[in-house]
Symmetry: C2
Subunit: 154 residues, 2 copies
């Protein structure tokens, strides 16, 4: 097996994506962040709350072995509050990351008591889920007549 991505690169890929998602949160007007939606989907604030509910709690489990259930019931009432939680999660991720040993990435875990996968695949899922929801956010912004940040800016 030829390994092609280092732990440090994977963290940078995630944080680069998180920086872009932060810019998308910032691009929303306050009201539309919490209210605007298309086709019955959730407003972007709810998608961002899902990402917050996964990131640090998921890594806590991966790094420390504590298990919890997934709770997306974060109380957030303003863009400033959401951005503050986002920045705290950035620090949280950076803090937990070095505690994941190289061997740990290949181990199978049962995340949030239900999602059985390797650590690597779990972290990939976090990143993919974020890109997916952020792609939705881009459509919301375009529908609102707002130019989203450039996708390749990290």
């Amino acid at each position: 097996m030829s390994e092609v991505i280092s732990s440090g690169s994977l963290l940078e890929i995630w944080q680069g994506n998180r920086r872009l998602t932060r810019r998308v949160i910032e691009a929303f007007p306050e009201k539309e962040l919490f209210e605007f939606s298309i086709g019955g989907m959730r407003p972007f604030s709810e998608l961002a709350k899902e990402l917050l509910a996964i990131a640090v709690p998921g890594l806590t489990e991966i790094a420390g072995g504590d298990t919890g259930s997934l709770s997306e019931d974060l109380q957030v009432h303003s863009k400033a509050e959401l951005l503050q939680l986002w920045d705290e999660a950035t620090e949280g991720i950076n803090g937990f990351w070095p505690r994941i040993s190289p061997e740990r990435f290949g181990e199978t875990i049962r995340l949030f008591g239900q999602y059985e996968n390797t650590v690597t695949d779990s972290i990939f899922y976090f990143i993919e889920n974020e890109i997916h929801h952020r792609g939705q956010g881009y459509v919301y912004l375009r529908a609102l007549g707002i130019q989203p940040p450039f996708f390749w800016e990290r």
Copy 2:
């Protein structure tokens, strides 16, 4: 540096994502695949054509060193045609992949004559760009009242 993802896993992550994107193409009605859009964005067929223009031509360059410019001007006029090109690209990717040596992933290339990056980062970009555009497709489908495939199905 601890390497955490193998070349084979990265291929499987990409192809798993491509299987999901294929389901999203299939979920669109023929007409809406080529015409429906929100906020001035491209119809989903155009996004899929962009993905096709990147995947095999990009890998050709990565595996063989040939350079070309990025051309998204594929002629595709039906869903069946698009799905056929998609399946041909699936085979093309699988064919080129084993020709990328482990060392090659860390090398810097200038893709399509302009995007300078390591091979690993370039392939990540292909995958992230696909998830991003597919996320847009999910909103189009929801806006059309169509249930998209489950995101976690690969």
